[in-house]
Symmetry: C2
Subunit: 246 residues, 2 copies
């Protein structure tokens, strides 16, 4: 096995937790699982074994592969899988225009999952979502989401123009605190350093997130997180405990 | 100059933007500024020159120093400064108990500044805020904040027990959406991986941030960001534009 390259037909998870998420959500795409001999002590291993048995997936113990693919010494399992392509479905969408940062991308996937946003549109050029760094930063959330690339924003917009569109921009016309909606919507965010250009002022209701003038802007994953927290408020505001089983 | 170590008496900023923030906010602590010869083309350089002249700070052009201290090739200025110790002041506080991640810490500082939270309490053991990685991730926000370390939570609590205390915990008793306050408060967050232990249920009003059960928890900097966004809503919700000069 070699270190991942963008044009490879397969990719891999690094770590027990994302490997379990892969096995649970995309077993049909898993080629094999490679583990480090010291995984025996890991409390996630029985579940990996159980899932691999259920889906007839081979587990290989091979320390050298793990040491080679994982830069840090804290990875005990790798799930090798065939890269797949997905389609977004009806529901609320997050649209990222030209996102480039791998760590940010993973964090955003995880936050989306946390607030019940399951459909992610990515406008090219953009980061490769199957890069192991993205998968790792997402902690496996990537396997729970429907993710679809588009070559340009306009083709996505034409397909979903009946959605309410909210482009997030420093020049946005309306304060996020003054917005609430129960309609199906698309939340649109620009690139980490340049944001959305002025043409996006023409799509739907542009929005700004107010903050003090001592910083230029919030970082992208933070801005997305605040927005999802705000837009999903209705759904979460009456919860009495975080989990029913606590 | 050598790569930073925790016990050094000085530290340094990496990059034009954080160096400008250092020069603006803590000129009295700056020892010297080192720049790369190619900084001439950088649009931030005239401001660095102006600030250095104003405060009689020496600028040294030394490419090798920059190349040595900056792992990536995108740093053109370094501001060397004497490490200082700060005191928090009256106002709303953020309290981080045993934070360990340097990138997270920088992001949190920046988000605090963005939402007008200027006082940060850190309970030891904890990350070294003067590590250049923290300073860089904060994009210089560190120099705008008052930051004070305490050896344990109890000694901080005894000093400020007239504050409203909100410890954020998965087991928290109240949903964040049901909380709002105009009183002086302390928002308390635990370590990135372990959170706050159960003893914190006894301080003030414990809070949870509701999210879907498909993720274990939000990451720390995201949880803090959402919380500051929520708690500072009153102050920001009537803003009509992000900046007066847009």
């Amino acid at each position: 096995m070699k270190i991942y390259k963008k044009n490879d037909e397969t990719s891999y998870t690094l770590g027990v937790f994302p490997t379990i998420e892969l096995l649970k959500k995309r077993p049909q795409d898993v080629i094999r699982v490679v583990v480090h001999s010291s995984i025996i002590q890991n409390k996630g291993y029985p579940l990996i074994q159980e899932l691999c048995q259920q889906y007839h997936i081979h587990i290989e113990i091979h320390d050298k592969t793990i040491d080679k693919l994982s830069p840090k010494n804290n990875c005990f399992a790798i799930g090798v899988f065939k890269k797949y392509s997905d389609q977004i479905q009806e529901g609320n969408h997050v649209v990222l225009v030209n996102p480039m940062d791998m760590g940010n991308m993973g964090t955003m996937m995880r936050t989306m999952l946390g607030f019940g946003y399951l459909h992610l549109v990515i406008i090219r050029p953009a980061v490769d979502i199957f890069d192991p760094k993205v998968i790792r930063a997402s902690m496996g959330a990537i396997f729970h989401l429907n993710i679809q690339y588009y070559d340009n924003f306009e083709s996505y917009y034409q397909e979903y123009k009946y959605h309410e569109f909210y482009p997030f921009m420093l020049k946005g016309a309306k304060n996020i605190h003054q917005i609430s909606t129960n309609n199906v919507h698309s939340l649109v965010f620009g690139n980490e350093s340049s944001g959305l250009d002025d043409t996006y002022l023409n799509y739907g209701q542009s929005v700004f997130i107010p903050h003090s003038e001592t910083i230029d802007s919030l970082n992208l994953s933070m801005a997305l997180g605040l927005t999802l927290f705000h837009f999903s408020k209705e759904q979460f505001q009456r919860k009495e405990v975080l989990r029913d089983n606590v």
